[in-house]
């Protein structure tokens, strides 16, 4: 059973936290309804039973409060995991998460590290309206001093979260509410640690490189299958972490395919996608047959209506169009 075990994304996250909490007494979880209610999205289900209220802590609805408290605890060497029910709610905690955590080591001249994991749901897709559908990687990845992981599958969710918890720096861990029920193969009883800064080739191909991360990985794979029927063979690279960014894997692929499409579900202006495109242009200037094409969300707030929201996000159709254009097949 273990070799083929399939579990949900949320179970993978829970396994990562549970295993790390068993392994390291310094690790604890805090956030809104993570204990008695088992988490708004049941990611922490059963963890209160195993670890008790000392290590699984229900907090008041007070994002700045628990983010700031976690920073203080991390300064004294603990390893807090902070669950934001949604990354959208982290906006009220901007001062602790952006102005303190990523700078603490720097501003204290190396005296105080800040090994906190901030994690929660990110991105649109659940018809939650624009205030609850933030894709924070665009804004937050701009800040040096933090690391950012955005897993696309349950096995990576587990392996990246375990790495995040063991990391000595603040890690922003972005999940998707749309993916929590997604099932995938996660071996049982095996230590999975996915190193940061190593992309994963999700599909090998020769004609066009699609570089992406998180939920859009699945849209890219869907697009790649459709394009294969048209004779366009795409290579899909899942970068898995934004900071650090595995530019090497993308460059190697583009040197082979000569075309590149970047898919990023944040707004295009000043986004991880624009950074990636700029780096590809720099490193592959003589290899590219076309400029790097980019698929982002539309430059509007996340719409509430179902059909508009689907159209707002990157999707397989848009990716297909971008690949055709980049490869002169339009």
């Amino acid at each position: 059973m273990s070799a083929l075990r399939e579990i949900e994304f949320r179970d993978a996250l829970r396994e990562a936290m549970t295993e790390e909490m068993r392994r390291d007494q310094r690790v604890f979880l805090l956030g809104e309804e993570v204990a008695h209610y088992n988490g708004a999205y049941k990611v922490s289900k059963g963890m209160l039973d195993e670890f008790g209220p000392r290590r699984i802590i229900d907090t008041p609805i007070s994002e700045s409060g628990f983010a700031g408290l976690a920073i203080g605890a991390a300064m004294q060497g603990l390893r807090p995991i902070v669950e934001f029910m949604s990354w959208s709610f982290s906006l009220v905690a901007a001062d602790p998460i952006l102005n303190n955590a990523p700078k603490m080591l720097y501003m204290s001249g190396g005296q105080f590290g800040c090994p906190v994991v901030f994690r929660g749901n990110d991105g649109a897709g659940g018809q939650l309206g624009s205030t609850h559908s933030w894709c924070v990687e665009g804004m937050y990845s701009n800040v040096p001093g933090l690391k950012m992981a955005i897993p696309a599958t349950p096995d990576d969710a587990k392996g990246l979260l375990k790495t995040a918890i063991r990391d000595d720096d603040p890690v922003f861990f972005l999940e998707s509410e749309r993916m929590l029920g997604m099932k995938g193969h996660v071996p049982e009883g095996e230590e999975i640690l996915v190193p940061f800064g190593q992309g994963r080739i999700r599909r090998a191909g020769a004609d066009c490189t699609i570089a992406t991360w998180g939920r859009p990985v699945h849209f890219a794979l869907e697009a790649a299958e459709a394009l294969a029927k048209e004779g366009i063979d795409c290579e899909v690279i899942d970068l898995r972490t934004i900071r650090p960014l595995d530019i090497g894997s993308v460059v190697r692929s583009v040197k082979k395919t000569s075309t590149c499409v970047v898919v990023d579900q944040s707004w295009s202006f000043g986004s991880p996608g624009s950074e990636l495109a700029a780096q590809v242009h720099k490193h592959c200037f003589d290899d590219l047959d076309n400029f790097v094409h980019r698929v982002h969300t539309a430059d509007v707030p996340a719409p509430y209506a179902y059909n508009l929201e689907q159209e707002y996000l990157p999707n397989a159709r848009k990716i297909c169009e971008a690949v055709r254009a980049a490869t002169y097949n339009a």
Partner: protein, 377 residues
């Protein structure tokens, strides 16, 4: 059903040595041994002189913006004196005196305000955190530090300082609620100096005291004359004892006044009446302590002259050390970005180029483009 009263509350105000020199023997006797008192007084004088020198350094272009501590020496000093040295002291920027008592080098503070980050590298043995300049963020850190101590079963508590202006920040309320609600031993001390830069207390909040806000969070609270070292020590001893024994937070409002500007970037004469400032000058914490010590035969003009001469030498040497430090290397700012420097940042450090420039491909070859040893699984 009849209308019932669900809460009535009283808040004590503690004064032991008042501005007129009256001393409450019952509360004050034996509170601070004479030998300590002389030491504490000397410490306040040193801090005051450093403050005056720092102001002059700024005015002569030898220092950046500086927030004078003048008039507020007693509160943080009383706290540092009452706390154990391994309790966390989490301050903002008007607690120099307490930090120096802890052993934080004076030149660190000067260095910080001269615009050198090395001034904020507080040696860990002092259990003091870097000076927090954003208003109010440090209260949450103190709560987290104390929570971590509790989590580890240590008896250590945290004490955090902030001004009256910070009590309007959300972080203040969130820290207070967390500390009370999660049973965290933090002593919150508001140095209420009456002014948030140019905004007077009554425009900041309608409540007559800051201390009463603690009641809303189910936290014990007390107000004291913040310019009275005895009252401060009395309140901190009470707060610390209670926090340590119950694991609960405690709130102290130290009523004080900044005799100087908010920082060297503003001119308080433009928004404060001189009469108000003069009245508070008469309530100076140093002045009243000196009078008290003289009355008790612990102090004399000769001793004062001797002290001032010593302080001048000490502060001058401090300034010399702070100004004499070699400028940081331009690559130093990469040093403490991450526990281990990532490859792209190491490249920036080694070439001092930004992502976008890349003018020398040879610097990039073999660095950024270096492929991962192992392809993803």
């Amino acid at each position: 059903m009849p209308i019932k009263t669900v809460l009535t509350a009283e808040i004590e105000n503690v004064s032991i040595l008042d501005a007129e020199g009256r001393f409450d023997e019952k509360l004050g006797k034996g509170l601070i041994p004479d030998a300590d008192l002389v030491k504490l007084y000397g410490h306040m004088c040193t801090c005051r002189h450093l403050d005056e020198v720092a102001f002059k350094l700024q005015r002569s272009g030898r220092m950046g913006t500086y927030p004078q501590n003048m008039g507020q020496e007693a509160a943080s000093l009383g706290a540092a004196y009452a706390l154990n040295n391994d309790d966390w002291l989490v301050t903002c920027y008007r607690e120099n005196c307490g930090l120096f008592w802890r052993g934080v080098p004076m030149e660190s503070i000067l260095l910080h305000w001269m615009g050198d980050e090395r001034g904020n590298a507080m040696p860990r043995q002092h259990h003091a955190t870097p000076i927090a300049v954003p208003i109010g963020t440090q209260m949450l850190h103190a709560t987290g530090l104390a929570w971590a101590a509790k989590y580890r079963g240590e008896k250590r508590i945290a004490c955090t300082f902030f001004g009256d202006g910070a009590t309007s920040e959300g972080d203040f309320h969130e820290a207070m609620n967390f500390a009370a609600n999660l049973d965290i031993p933090v002593v919150f001390c508001c140095q209420n100096n009456g002014w948030a830069i140019s905004v007077p207390g009554h425009i900041q909040c309608s409540a007559p005291t800051v201390a009463q806000r603690a009641l809303a969070y189910g936290m014990d609270t007390i107000q004291c004359d913040g310019n009275d070292l005895f009252a401060v020590v009395h309140c901190f001893r009470k707060a610390i004892k209670q926090a340590r024994s119950t694991g609960r937070p405690f709130f102290i409002e130290a009523v004080t006044y900044r005799l100087g500007d908010h920082t060297t970037a503003d001119d308080a004469r433009r928004y404060r009446d001189q009469a108000e400032v003069d009245a508070w000058r008469a309530r100076d914490p140093i002045l009243r302590l000196r009078k008290y010590m003289a009355k008790r035969g612990l102090w004399s003009d000769a001793k004062e002259q001797e002290l001032q001469a010593k302080v001048e030498v000490e502060v001058a040497a401090t300034v010399e050390r702070a100004e004499g430090i070699t400028s940081p290397n331009r690559v130093d700012f990469f040093d403490h970005m991450y526990a281990e420097i990532p490859a792209d940042l190491a490249l920036q450090r080694d070439t001092m180029q930004t992502h976008g420039i890349g003018q020398d491909p040879s610097q990039i070859e073999g660095a950024v483009i270096e492929l991962p040893a192992k392809e993803g699984h």
